[in-house]
Symmetry: D2
Subunit: 341 residues, 4 copies
Amino acid sequence: MIVIMQEGAQELQIQQVVEKLVDLGYDIHRSTGVTRTVLGVVGGRIIDTREIELLEGVDHVVRVTTAYKLASRQFNPEGTRIVLTNRSRRLEIGGDSLAIIAGPCSVENREQIQAIAGLVAGSGSAILRGSTFRMPFSPYSFPGLGEEGLQLLREAADQFGLFVVSEISDREQLPLFSRYVDILQVGARNMQNFNLLKELGRMEKPVLLKRGIAATLEELLLSAEHVMAGGNRQVLLCERGIRTFEGAETTTLDLAAIPMLKRLTHLPVLVDPSHGTGRRDKVIPMARAAVAAGADGLMVEVHNQPERALNDGAQSLYPSQFAQLVHELTGIAKVVGKTLA
Amino acid sequence: MIVIMQEGAQELQIQQVVEKLVDLGYDIHRSTGVTRTVLGVVGGRIIDTREIELLEGVDHVVRVTTAYKLASRQFNPEGTRIVLTNRSRRLEIGGDSLAIIAGPCSVENREQIQAIAGLVAGSGSAILRGSTFRMPFSPYSFPGLGEEGLQLLREAADQFGLFVVSEISDREQLPLFSRYVDILQVGARNMQNFNLLKELGRMEKPVLLKRGIAATLEELLLSAEHVMAGGNRQVLLCERGIRTFEGAETTTLDLAAIPMLKRLTHLPVLVDPSHGTGRRDKVIPMARAAVAAGADGLMVEVHNQPERALNDGAQSLYPSQFAQLVHELTGIAKVVGKTLA
Amino acid sequence: MIVIMQEGAQELQIQQVVEKLVDLGYDIHRSTGVTRTVLGVVGGRIIDTREIELLEGVDHVVRVTTAYKLASRQFNPEGTRIVLTNRSRRLEIGGDSLAIIAGPCSVENREQIQAIAGLVAGSGSAILRGSTFRMPFSPYSFPGLGEEGLQLLREAADQFGLFVVSEISDREQLPLFSRYVDILQVGARNMQNFNLLKELGRMEKPVLLKRGIAATLEELLLSAEHVMAGGNRQVLLCERGIRTFEGAETTTLDLAAIPMLKRLTHLPVLVDPSHGTGRRDKVIPMARAAVAAGADGLMVEVHNQPERALNDGAQSLYPSQFAQLVHELTGIAKVVGKTLA
Amino acid sequence: MIVIMQEGAQELQIQQVVEKLVDLGYDIHRSTGVTRTVLGVVGGRIIDTREIELLEGVDHVVRVTTAYKLASRQFNPEGTRIVLTNRSRRLEIGGDSLAIIAGPCSVENREQIQAIAGLVAGSGSAILRGSTFRMPFSPYSFPGLGEEGLQLLREAADQFGLFVVSEISDREQLPLFSRYVDILQVGARNMQNFNLLKELGRMEKPVLLKRGIAATLEELLLSAEHVMAGGNRQVLLCERGIRTFEGAETTTLDLAAIPMLKRLTHLPVLVDPSHGTGRRDKVIPMARAAVAAGADGLMVEVHNQPERALNDGAQSLYPSQFAQLVHELTGIAKVVGKTLA
């Protein structure tokens, strides 16, 4: 922590700040400049910097350490790779591979999810998504099929040798999810549900953590830290749009988060252009852009009949669009040195 | 729903939109203008307007109905008043009364909470707050005293004839909370934890619902609707700052939300200037401003020894500041036709 | 400037940063901690901190000095008061006085501006506003009366002993404005038109500088510095709402800017609740709130016939509303130790 | 305009709204639904919709027409192509070509700009950029070389057969700029300087209009309309980042603006990843992403010696980075059906 005193702060004020910090168990290095004094503060317990900022004569306080450790790039400079295996294949997320997660917004019935699983497998993608325990904005919307949905999702995935990811929204669902899915997804609204994250930290399955729509990158990494602190180091981060002044019904997909996260953390970075844009005609260009910007993977919604989808049909691709997209992504991945996983 | 076609949309495109809507069970009223055609759409099930917006020739679609009903001003034009009673008094929130909820960030120990309860009662305020099951950003922070905290809070409140509010962060805590508190608080991060809201809808205690830092007013009201749809009509809304470009470590307190909410809903509107500003020196002016803007109440953090507080000391008022503030609020309340409850 | 190295930065990296800084003419104070090294950097020319941040091994760089000097609180700890005098009165803005600036959005004709000047004077307010050289969003909107408007505004003000403020949008208008107005207003869209600000720095009239809708407080103060650097120390700051996710057609009035600016600068702080909210029914509560939060003054739109106003009638108060508002403001001002100027 | 009445609005209220609108010269189509009444409003002069929204019984008002006409996609469904020609070549911006504008932040001296012009030409790019009349945030920063800068820029461009773009910040500079540049650039801070835009509407050179950091896409198009209304139809739009909660010292590059603008307007869409991210290590991935998302061109800062640049060195690419980037962009362009112009 560095304490920057105001220009013209009085000696007495500086002394009081120093005393307070010494009381709190810190060592102080004082630099007296021409215009102002700066205090370097070392050791002691972590305190709320605002408390120091409110002292007389203090201009502002700067934190030197990040609040996350395990998630920081320094912790694993090589970069983390997450490995999934099933009978038919071994999949690596991170490194030089590009992972494509695809599927419908919700699992609706056996026929639908099987048809889509076929599409996904046919495109060369390896991970099937589908919501089963939904938490819709309106109490009257389709809440998902629950356990039946998980069963159908697993069954369809197995038929095509795919891995499965689905969103968990409550601690109580953990036993069920650990039975059926390969990756546990945490939605944007639950990014700071630390009660849930703590439980996931005890699991042995990868966690796909979506960025909250108002979360800074530091907050996202702090949430990853909550999972990792429990022992589970397999965390995938996912950008899905942030709330800005541009349209309250949509979000602004923050693709610059990709290079920033690559600098800050060793964890793989995915992008969800479907929720991040909310409209099919924006999903395709933004999916391409995410790969061009260096994402380790995508999560894309595709549906065999988007206009009949129970949820989010508007952001689901048609089968032919999805096939065309994967083709384009393969070309872009090559330019940035990645290969479709 | 109103569908606004593009200028120069072709007759065939218009026909296709009409057919699609008729298929979905809607009645259509078509207005053909000089420059464009507008379709009024009535009945049918609720659909995702984006689905229509993506059709050829459509410019945009406007929703006519709000997604919330029970929370809307029309549902109770007089305005809702929430009544609390205990042995020593009857308290009304809403109408012409100004409710002040005060207390520490966290319940720390018996001595602390009793000292603060005395301060609160002495100022003429009637409701004591204090966190007990915390969900801190860092896994190393003080997590709260749990049930012991609830007991101490209740005990201190009873000693001074005060009511009690505390934040619940997980469904599992419900049995405990219903034993100890008078008002169930839902924090900003849980505003869209619909699993939790659904349970609170079955309770017979008032729910104090904080606005999420990225939530629009419509989303706040939709969350209130989730509670009300379960049968519990006693909801208090609380503005606590929104995330804007102005400082990622703080929020912008949106006081204009007060007159807007007064127009949109019948529910009482409170303001939390402590979390909304994060610094003691901003809490006081913003507390006064909230009352001047017409808030039905405030939730303010006060501590007997802010510099020793385990959490959020920087935003807690000193006892003398709190007393002075309540004095000023009384003066401002009179100007806007309210009286301290 | 303080350079915070990454945890685990290598000695060679640290040496290279030190050399680069020494090259640039800086003195370096190095602190080697357990987990990381911190470099205090003193003197030299001002450089772009990003240049250092991009060096190998650097975590981030913190600026210690503010970019504004003349506008900073330390420059004039007592606080600046701006004095206006005419034949009939002496008016002080700042200190314990509350200044109310009122008038129509645009000067429309002699009858209108005289009627409104009468209203303003009758309420006890001392400053008349009115736009004359407008810069409307649509090329088809009313552009203002130009010089004739300035004449009518001056004439109406003189009749009632009022001072005059009007917005200047281009350097070329300066000769005209200096003839007619007492305070030169710079609109939010011109807050960073440094060509214009430079010219205003040479004037001997107060400048009322509105905050841009995407401007941080530091940027606002840097714009004030541009004026002050030219020799003109009479600057009034005005909060008028910032752009947030809450409604692209309106802005969020950031009243917490008042206490923040009071801490950062010695310049008086005004608030414009009319442009800041855009609707008459929000103007009144937010005007009260601004005074309760400690503003030194308000700029409010009032019209003798709002429903016939050529611009912004929706945010203009009716005469009776304005009178009632001034009455309420007087009551609130008393609570915060101010008197209507 | 469509007026949506509140649920339960009284017949008298509806009548009053209708009368007011008829008074204003509108035709009204009334639809009486089960829950509410909707009024379709046709003709009359353009009015401020807020005026109607404030009437008793009105829920909200929806504008049907966009405020821009000439800039809308419908006005030129094929898409606008802007053609530049000089002795050595003909360049088209828009359509299937990808235009790369590159150069230093500022023109500093003959040697620098000639070296960079050589780099730009060598990469196959056709347009040279360089600021000459700067408007820096600090009064002490390098203000640019002025006319001398324009001369050097032109001279260097001519030597390599390049076109020239430079930013104009004041109407007074127009005669100079029209002598030296091929494209007139309007900076983000001047996007709503309608006085300047009006003058540019009379020119016969293309205008490159940057999006303001707080501007919606509709506002950007309305600014383009100001230019186009004057007769100049050659407008290039440029996304350069918007201000969000993510870091006040940077902006969030809104690449989804590309597909959105493609839908709304026929004008070519460029992206400036240099100003849009502010750091060299983010410029490269975001440049690639912009092309992948369908941009018609890029504006990128490159410098022969970034660490010695007078401004914005941190966001300027090294020569070898620039060459590598152009190579990668060529690969991505092919995937999206474009060719380097």
